[in-house]
């Protein structure tokens, strides 16, 4: 599959190896597979419109093989392109299947050629643009703008970037709201435990469990339910630890507790 014009079969001479490595090390310098393809296509020394896509596909695949042989890690998009080119190559080589849907190999090849020509053209356009006379380098604006200090108006400025950043800031806050569980109406068992451990020392006789609900949690039904559950669970935990005793006269009767005396 390797193309003798670019790479040779192993064993390679030192010179060839260096040349190949130089090219591969340069992968860092390539701006993606399309850029690499454009560079490879230049070796054909023909008008981009007359380029042999088949030959180009082979050059590219040989390049990727070589990179693998030299254990150069290629970015995923280079490998995606290699897979696509292998597919394209098979399409170009095999006789077209009349039953098959979709574009022909020729159509795909023509599109790739178009992409390369367009990228080459844009690159040239970019170079021509940058070669133009530029403000602040080749021609200049007024160095001393007139300043009349008498009429002063304050002008508030904000750029679109400021605006977008501000919005991004607010929205980022919002975005995280669902993940930070809304705890304003939730009393946790840990909180209840902390609270009870602090209070239990002062409780001499039997006291109603409901007396341990924190201030402000006894009226609103949602909060009351949460605080009751947490306090009850905490009392079970404390009973298990042997710190308190629990008592309930009958089903649904008030639960009372007291400190366990040793």
């Amino acid at each position: 599959m390797s193309d003798p014009s670019l790479f040779q079969e192993d064993p390679v001479s030192v010179g060839d190896r260096l040349a190949a490595e130089a090219l591969i090390v340069d992968v860092d310098g390539f701006e993606g597979p399309l850029d690499l393809l454009l560079t490879l296509s230049r070796t054909q020394k023909v008008d981009l419109r007359r380029i042999s896509v088949l030959q180009l596909a082979e050059q590219y695949l040989a390049f990727v093989d070589k990179a693998k042989a030299l254990r150069i890690e290629l970015a995923a998009d280079y490998l995606v392109m290699a897979a696509w080119l292998a597919f394209l190559k098979s399409r170009l080589l095999l006789p077209p299947d009349p039953n098959e849907e979709g574009p022909t190999g020729e159509e795909l090849a023509a599109h790739l050629a178009f992409q390369l020509e367009r990228l080459g053209a844009m690159r040239e356009a970019a170079a021509r643009l940058m070669a133009r006379d530029q403000l602040g380098r080749d021609f200049f604006a007024r160095g001393l703008t007139e300043d009349v200090t008498r009429v002063r108006r304050t002008h508030y400025s904000a750029t679109l970037l400021d605006l977008m950043q501000a919005y991004a800031r607010i929205r980022t806050r919002d975005e995280f709201r669902p993940f930070a569980f809304d705890r304003t109406h939730v009393f946790t068992m840990e909180q209840a435990l902390d609270r009870m451990r602090g209070l239990i020392g002062y409780a001499g006789g039997w006291t109603d469990l409901m007396g341990y609900l924190p201030d402000g949690w006894a009226h609103d039904p949602v909060r009351r339910r949460s605080a009751t559950a947490a306090t009850f669970a905490a009392s079970l935990e404390l009973a298990k630890q042997g710190q308190i005793e629990l008592r309930q006269a009958e089903t649904f009767a008030p639960i009372t507790l007291r400190r366990k005396t040793h």
Binding site: V151, S157, D162, A168
Partner: protein
């Protein structure tokens, strides 16, 4: 002109030419004109001579230039022992627009503005809900004064609160064709303005985005 061309010009062309003769005085006048125009400070004759090709006579060129600008909208004037181009004194009244003091908008104001732009029409309560803090009267006043927001239709909800919308001047200032052109959350993220990634397993932003877009489109279709 490429980067390499400039030094060439400087070192070759004028140098070479100067071996024979200085540029014609009309050309020297052009040079003085360009230098005085582009300099932030008045320029002395010695300075001019140093910057111009060898053999030039900037004092002579200045005489011509000064004459050329006599009675024009700007004049060549002497400032100490240096020269500058200045507005003709009788046209000073035209310059008053040049003195605007630019100040950054406060964070509260820019956030409020952003919320109105993205959610318009927005009520004060909505802005406060999104920002999580009260919106001071001064902030709204300032944005109204800047003519970046204005009152929209009243919301048909209890209390019929006023709403705020952005103005054409806002669009103009921010170079937008319409408020719909504001980039969405995903685009903000793509542009690197939003660094936080969503937590795995939560609703994808794509969904949120399209909802928001639908909302916005609705809002704008009056």
């Amino acid at each position: 002109m490429t980067d390499t061309a400039t030094p060439d010009r400087q070192s070759d062309a004028p140098e070479e030419r100067s071996l024979f003769e200085a540029p014609p005085i009309a050309e020297q006048e052009r040079m003085v004109e360009a230098i005085l125009f582009a300099s932030a400070e008045p320029v002395t004759v010695a300075d001019l001579a140093q910057r111009m090709p060898h053999g030039c006579d900037p004092a002579e060129a200045l005489v011509h230039l000064r004459k050329r600008y006599e009675g024009r909208g700007v004049n060549v004037v002497r400032v100490g022992d240096a020269w500058a181009i200045r507005t003709a004194p009788d046209l000073g009244f035209l310059m008053q627009k040049e003195v605007v003091e630019t100040r950054k908008l406060s964070r509260a104001a820019i956030e409020t503005l952003a919320i109105i732009a993205y959610h318009q029409p927005a009520t004060r309560a909505e802005i406060e809900e999104i920002r999580g803090v009260a919106v001071s009267r001064g902030t709204i006043d300032q944005l109204m004064e800047l003519d970046w927001i204005r009152l929209g239709r009243r919301r048909m909800t209890p209390g019929r609160p006023v709403t705020f919308v952005v103005t054409p001047r806002f669009l103009d200032h921010f170079g937008l064709e319409s408020a719909r052109d504001l980039p969405g959350l995903k685009e903000l993220r793509a542009a690197g303005l939003l660094d936080n990634r969503p937590m795995p397993g939560t609703t994808t932003l794509g969904d949120e985005e399209s909802d928001e877009m639908a909302g916005q489109t609705e809002l704008f279709e009056d």
